[in-house]
């Protein structure tokens, strides 16, 4: 029997229906490497390939995928469909998501955004480090440099510090669960004052346990202050944002939670010496001041007394001089008076040749007081005579 020849449309319709009916190829995810990527009129046309096969892909409304480049590993969600008009089997993608490292990074960003919105990174939830940290709980691998660095730095600064290690897995599947166990263990240890969650540098994949949501929430809900120290200085994992404090390295974490007691104590010893010296100086100064003041006081009083003494002497001299002058002047005065008085002495006058006429005991100074026959006495310097007036 001859086979009937089918038209292209018929064959193509049939192929289309086969693929339309195949549920297994609808709403699936596929992954591969992008090549020949271009966006034309808002739609993306590219191929997705792996080592052995290649698939043609179309994504409508793909403006948001302009950052996709050839060579990217991506995961597409969509369906296989036969495009009869073009004679091609295409994968029609409704979403393109970076795969592998890119995918992990995307998930990191999404989780970071989600937790930040919930407030897990907020400063108001961060606990301060307590004073007087005596015991540190460290969640990290029991092998490797991290725990050694933390021990070395801590004990160098404060020999009395206690360190408890909870050995955990710090990479690989399920590592975050061991870390969560470690945090809970230290939460229940009453003597532990602060918790450090640490791991050393590593690849991006190695650090992934510290980006897990369950660990992030365990860090957030931790009842004790928690310091995260994961990877290198430039690595930031989710728990770095959630923790109460983030240290760039494990050694830095050890420095954060310990006081450099030896250095601080050496300073206290120096300050003690300064204290005693300062007090000694203060006392000495006060003493000098008192001495100075008493010397000054003495000087002042001495000077004052001297001055008064001098003034007194000067005054005494002045007084003496004045007294002498006054005395002399008075003496002179008296002498003059005596001389004057002497000159006025009637007896002297009588000696000079004058005589005094006395009648009835009265001195006669005028002839009018006399009449003829009056009896008068005439006093001479050497005696008196009686006489009678014969003519006036």
């Amino acid at each position: 029997m001859e086979l009937k020849a089918l038209s292209i449309t018929e064959v193509s319709t049939y192929v289309t229906q086969i693929f339309d009916a195949e549920e297994m190829l609808h709403g699936i995810k596929i992954y591969g490497e992008v090549s020949g990527f271009s966006i034309v009129r808002g739609n993306a046309y590219f191929s997705l390939k792996d080592d052995n096969a290649i698939l043609s892909c179309i994504c409508f409304g793909a403006e948001r995928y302009s950052n996709i480049k050839n060579g990217d590993q991506v995961v597409l969600t969509g369906s296989m469909k036969y495009y009869a008009k073009g004679g091609k089997l295409n994968f029609y993608a409704t979403s393109i998501v970076p795969y592998g490292l890119g995918l992990i990074y995307q998930q990191f960003l999404l989780l970071k955004e989600k937790l930040e919105k919930e407030g897990l990174f907020s400063q108001e939830h961060k606990k301060p480090l307590p004073d007087n940290i005596k015991t540190i709980g460290v969640v990290t691998s029991k092998t490797g440099a991290v725990i050694q660095d933390i021990i070395n730095v801590s004990t160098r600064r404060n020999p009395a510090i206690n360190i408890e290690l909870y050995p955990a897995k710090v990479q690989g599947d399920g590592a975050e669960l061991t870390i969560i166990d470690g945090i809970e263990y230290f939460e229940n240890r009453p003597n532990v004052d602060v918790i450090i969650v640490a791991r050393g540098g590593g690849s991006y994949e190695d650090l992934q346990p510290f980006n897990q949501e369950n660990l992030a929430r365990a860090v957030f809900n931790c009842s004790k202050p928690l310091v995260s120290a994961v990877g290198h200085e430039t690595d930031f994992t989710i728990i770095d944002f959630v923790a109460d404090l983030r240290a760039p390295t494990p050694s830095a974490a050890a420095e954060l939670v310990t006081i450099d007691v030896l250095t601080e104590f050496a300073k206290v010893k120096r300050d003690k010496e300064r204290l005693f010296a300062a007090m000694q100086n203060l006392l000495n100064n006060k003493l000098w001041q008192v001495q100075d003041n008493s010397q000054s006081l003495y000087d002042i009083v001495y000077d004052s007394v001297s001055e008064k003494k001098t003034n007194l002497l000067l005054s005494a001299n002045k007084l003496a001089m004045l007294s002498t002058k006054i005395f002399e002047s008075k003496e002179n005065q008296i002498k003059l008076n005596l001389t004057a008085l002497d000159n006025l002495n009637p007896a002297k006058l009588l000696l000079k040749g004058y005589s005094q006429v006395v009648k009835d005991g009265n001195v006669i100074a005028s002839k009018k007081q006399l009449k003829v026959n009056d009896c008068v006495e005439i006093n001479f310097g050497d005696g008196k005579v009686k006489s009678t007036i014969i003519e006036v």
């Binding site: 206690n162 360190i163 408890e164 300062a278 203060l282």
Partner: protein, 69 residues
């Protein structure tokens, strides 16, 4: 008062005292406060060596203690 607080206050006191122009009574009071702080600092520095243990040791110890009862 923690060691750090005591050490800090001590430094403040020493700086104040070293200025040298305090009245005697105030200076003496500060000095006395300083001496007390020095003693506190000395006491606070625990010269004993700290202990480093792992969780397993602690758990073992707890188990031993329980089994011992």
């Amino acid at each position: 008062m923690t060691f750090e607080q005591a050490a800090k206050r001590l430094e403040e006191i020493v700086n104040e005292l070293e200025k040298g122009n305090l009245p005697l009574e105030e200076g003496t009071k500060l000095f006395e406060e300083g001496v007390v702080l020095v003693k506190q600092c000395y006491d606070a520095v625990d010269k004993t060596k700290g202990k480093i243990t792992t969780a397993k040791e602690q758990l073992d110890k707890i188990i031993n203690d329980i089994e011992g009862e």
